[in-house]
C-alpha cells in the first residue's frame, strides 16, 4: 500500500528556529518563558510570532524560569496547552516545579537546549542539565539534529496529552552544535501539524465551571505512594504510546522514529551507545570501519525516560563489548547516567557483554572521529574481564 506523505517544505534553519517554527505550528494557548543561552533564540523567535499576530498564544514573559515553569503548571492545570524552553541553570532553577508538573500529570512540553551546568559557568553543550532532571518524572526525548528536534517537539504534544500517559515531555537538542547550526530539514504544512496534534480536550481542569476541582492537595502516607505508583504507570504506558505516535508521524512525514536507533547492529560484535549530535560522528566512524571489515554498530537512544531497558538489551544480545558515551558526569564515581542504566539493562544477557563508559564533551569539548575509532578498537580487542574494571570510566579528550 502506498504511504501518503504530506506536502513538506525543505528549509535551512538552526535548531532553535526549527523548534520555534514547530511551536508556531502547534500554537499553544500559553507560552511562559525566560531567556538563557543557548535557548534564548526560541523565545525570541516566538516573541516575534506573537508580536506579528502569527499565533494566538498568550505569551507570559516571567521574571525567572522558576516562575516560567510555575505559570506553565497553572496554565496546563487550567486546561490549555502550555509550552516553554530553557537550558542549563534555567532548568536547574525549575527543578522543584518539574516534579510538581509531573506529579500533577500535566501534559506540558518543554524544549531543553543542552548546556553545561555551573560552576564553573560555561555556555556550551553537555547533558548535565537534563540528566539532572532525569528522575523528575518527565518523558525525555533526545534529538540528534535539527530535523529530529522539530519532529520530536511535534510528537511530544501527542505523547504528553495521551490519556494513558498524561505526563510532561522534555525534548533535548545539543546547545550550539544543533541549536545554532544551520541545517536542511523538512517541515510540515501548518495545517498538517494542527491535524496531527488534534484539539486539546482535557478531562479535568480548573476552568471547568461546572466541575470545580482541587489540584495540588496535601497527600500524606495514606495516599502518596499510590499516586506515585500511578505516575510510574503513565511512564510504563508511554513506551507503547511513543511508538504509536511515531507510527502516525511517519504516515504524515515519511520519517521514522523509535525508542532508539540501532545502526548496523545486525551482526555487530561491538557497539557504541550515544545520544544526540555525537551519534552523527559515531555513525560516520561505523561506516568507515565497516568498510575495513569490522563488525561494529551504533545505538542512539532517543527516549531516555522511560528508559527502554528491555528493548536495548534485546539489540545488544550477542554483542561482545559495548561502550557507552556519556556527555555528563553523575558524580557517583561509578559512571555516567547512561552507562549505569545501560549496564543494568544488560545484566541478564547471557553471555553478558563487556561494558565501558566514556565520559566526553563536558562544557562543549569537541569530540573527533579518531576518538571514536579508538573506542571501537579497544572494544574489538577486548577479552573477557578486560573492559569493565580497567578502566571502567574513561575521560575522553581531557588533559590529566
Amino acid at each position: 500500500m502506498a504511504v501518503a506523505v504530506a506536502l513538506q517544505k525543505k528549509v535551512a534553519m538552526t535548531g532553535n528556529e526549527a523548534v520555534a517554527q514547530a511551536m508556531r505550528q502547534i500554537e499553544p494557548d500559553v507560552v511562559a518563558a525566560y531567556p538563557i543561552t543557548p535557548a534564548t533564540d526560541i523565545v525570541q523567535y516566538f516573541s516575534n510570532f506573537v508580536a506579528n499576530g502569527q499565533v494566538k498564544t498568550e505569551f507570559v514573559t516571567t521574571e525567572s524560569e522558576h516562575s516560567a515553569m510555575s505559570a506553565c503548571v497553572g496554565a496546563s492545570a487550567a486546561g490549555v496547552r502550555a509550552m516553554t524552553a530553557t537550558a542549563s541553570n534555567g532548568l536547574a532553577l525549575m527543578w522543584e516545579v518539574l516534579y510538581i508538573a509531573s506529579g500533577m500529570r500535566l501534559p506540558l512540553v518543554m524544549t531543553v537546549v543542552n548546556r553545561a551546568l555551573s560552576s564553573p559557568i560555561n555556555i556550551h553543550c553537555d547533558h548535565s542539565d537534563s540528566m539532572g532532571a532525569r528522575d523528575a518524572g518527565w518523558i525525555q526525548i533526545y534529538s540528534e539534529n535539527t530535523q529530529e528536534a522539530y519532529d520530536n517537539v511535534i510528537q511530544a504534544i501527542r505523547i504528553a496529552q495521551h490519556p494513558k500517559v498524561l505526563l510532561p515531555v522534555m525534548v533535548m537538542l545539543d546547545g550550539f552544535i544543533i541549536s545554532h547550526a544551520m541545517e536542511n530539514l523538512e517541515i510540515l504544512e501548518d495545517g498538517d501539524v494542527k491535524e496531527f496534534i488534534g484539539e486539546y480536550r482535557p478531562e479535568r481542569y480548573l476552568l471547568d465551571a461546572d466541575h470545580p476541582i482541587t489540584i495540588g492537595a496535601l497527600d500524606l502516607n495514606d495516599y502518596y505512594f499510590e499516586h506515585k505508583r500511578q505516575q510510574v504507570e503513565g511512564l510504563l504506558q508511554a513506551r507503547k504510546v511513543i511508538l504509536e505516535v511515531a507510527g502516525d508521524y511517519q504516515r504524515v512525514s515519511g520519517r521514522s522514529y523509535g525508542l532508539f536507533e540501532a545502526y548496523r547492529m545486525e551482526d555487530a560484535e561491538a557497539a557504541i551507545v550515544v545520544m544526540s549530535s555525537t551519534a552523527g560522528t559515531v555513525r560516520t566512524v561505523v561506516d568507515a570501519m565497516r568498510k575495513e571489515g569490522h563488525r561494529i554498530g551504533l545505538i542512539k537512544p532517543r527516549v531516555f525516560r522511560p528508559f527502554p531497558a528491555r528493548d536495548l538489551a534485546e539489540v545488544l544480545r550477542g554483542v561482545k563489548a559495548v561502550a557507552v558515551m556519556d556527555r555528563s558526569e553523575s558524580m557517583s564515581t561509578a559512571g555516567g547516567p547512561l552507562f549505569t542504566e545501560l549496564r543494568s539493562a544488560i545484566y541478564e544477557l547471557e553471555p553478558r557483554p563487556l561494558a565501558a563508559d566514556y565520559i566526553f564533551g563536558l562544557g562543549g569539548r569537541d569530540i573527533y572521529p579518531e576518538d571514536v575509532c579508538g573506542i571501537f578498537q579497544r572494544l574489538l580487542a577486548a577479552k573477557p574481564g578486560d573492559i569493565c574494571s580497567d578502566p571502567m570510566v574513561t575521560y575522553l579528550g581531557v588533559r590529566e
Binding site: 505559570a71 503548571v73 497553572g74 492545570a77 482541587t214 492537595a217
Partner: protein, 307 residues
C-alpha cells in the same frame, strides 16, 4: 455589598470541617473576601497553614476550583491560570467570566514568594493576591519572617541572653506592592469586616492586579487564647500597629482612623510572643517596638496627605 448576615446565607465557597486552628483568622478572612463576589472563581494558594489544613487528600474544603503548586510561586502559578483564561477568551472557547484570587501567608508573600508576586504585579495579571499576615512561618513551627514585628519571640528569633526576639523591624510590603503602580492595594483586618469587604469588592472589580494585606491572628504563634482572635486583630488596628488604608490608582487614603488610639501595650500584653518585653531589662526594646509603630503610622499619614 451584602450585609454580613446576607453574605453568610450565600453558598459557601470554603466549607467548614477544615483543620485550621480555632482562633486562626485566616479562614475568616477567606470567607469575608469570597462573600464579595458571585463570579466563577479559581483560587490559588501558597504552601502554608491555609493550604495544608484545607486540602488533606481525599478531602477538600474548597467548593470552587483551587490550585496549590509550591510555596514561593503562587503568584506565578495564578499568572499561568489567568493567562490560560485570557487565551481561551480570546479564542472564544470559554463563555463564563472568571475571577482569580490567590492566598499566601506572610512567608509565602513577603519572603520566598516576593519575586513571583512582583512579577505577577508588573505583568499586570488580573489576579487579586491576598496575604494573610500572621507575622511568622506558622506552618513550620513559628519561624521569623520579614513580617514579624521587632522583638517578637519566634523559634528562629528566640529570646536569649544576648539576642532578645526579632532584631529587625517589619518590611513595608503594602507600600512596596503599591510602588508597582497597580490599580488597587490595601491593608485590612477581619475585625473591621465592612472595611475589609469594601476593599475586597474594589479589589475584585479592578482591571489588573490587586493586593490585600490582611492581619491574621495565630493562637500557637502569637501565644494567645483562641477566643481573642477578633479582639486582637481589632486591637492591632486601634493601637495603630495595623493601619487601615488603601492605594487606589496611586492615591493613598486612610480608610479608618481610630478615634481614641489604644496604647500598644494592650495589643502586646495578651500575646505570649511579646511577654519578655514587659521585663524591666527589656524596657528599651519595648520603646523601640513602640517607636516602630509610631514611625510607620506617621509615614502612612503623610502618604495619605493627613500629616
Amino acid at each position: 455589598m451584602p450585609t454580613l448576615r446576607e453574605a453568610t446565607d450565600k453558598p459557601k465557597r470554603m466549607t467548614g470541617g477544615h483543620r485550621m486552628c480555632a482562633g486562626c483568622a485566616a479562614p475568616v478572612i477567606v470567607r469575608q473576601i469570597l462573600y464579595c463576589t458571585d463570579a466563577q472563581l479559581v483560587l490559588g494558594n501558597a504552601t502554608g497553614c491555609l493550604e495544608v489544613a484545607t486540602s488533606i487528600y481525599p478531602y477538600s474544603a474548597w467548593n470552587v476550583s483551587w490550585i496549590h503548586c509550591a510555596f514561593e510561586n503562587a503568584a506565578a502559578t495564578l499568572s499561568g491560570v489567568e493567562s490560560a483564561y485570557r487565551s481561551l477568551k480570546k479564542q472564544g472557547k470559554i463563555k463564563k467570566d472568571f475571577k482569580f484570587v490567590c492566598f499566601g501567608g506572610d512567608g509565602g508573600t513577603y519572603d520566598i514568594g516576593f519575586q513571583s508576586l512582583s512579577g505577577m504585579l508588573e505583568r499586570g495579571h488580573n489576579v487579586l493576591y491576598v496575604c494573610y499576615d500572621n507575622g511568622a512561618y506558622m506552618n513550620t513551627g513559628i519561624q521569623r519572617s520579614s513580617a514579624t514585628p521587632r522583638g517578637a519571640d519566634t523559634t528562629t528569633s528566640p529570646v536569649g541572653n544576648t539576642l532578645v526576639g526579632k532584631q529587625q523591624a517589619r518590611k513595608d510590603l503594602t507600600a512596596i506592592v503599591a510602588a508597582h503602580n497597580i490599580p488597587y492595594a490595601a491593608q485590612a483586618s477581619p475585625s473591621h469586616y465592612r472595611d475589609l469587604m469594601n476593599k475586597a469588592q474594589k479589589a475584585l472589580a479592578v482591571d489588573g492586579p490587586a493586593f490585600l494585606n490582611v492581619i491574621s491572628s495565630c493562637p500557637p504563634g502569637w501565644h494567645h487564647e483562641p477566643e481573642l482572635a477578633m479582639e486582637l486583630t481589632r486591637k492591632a488596628v486601634e493601637t495603630r500597629f495595623w493601619p487601615l488604608f488603601e492605594v487606589e490608582n496611586g492615591n493613598w487614603r486612610m480608610t479608618y482612623k481610630p478615634r481614641h488610639p489604644v496604647d500598644l501595650e494592650e495589643w502586646l500584653r495578651p500575646q505570649g510572643r511579646f511577654r519578655h518585653l514587659f521585663h524591666p531589662e527589656n524596657q528599651a526594646l519595648l520603646e523601640d517596638v513602640k517607636s516602630d509603630v509610631e514611625r510607620n503610622w506617621q509615614k502612612i499619614l503623610q502618604r495619605c496627605g493627613e500629616a
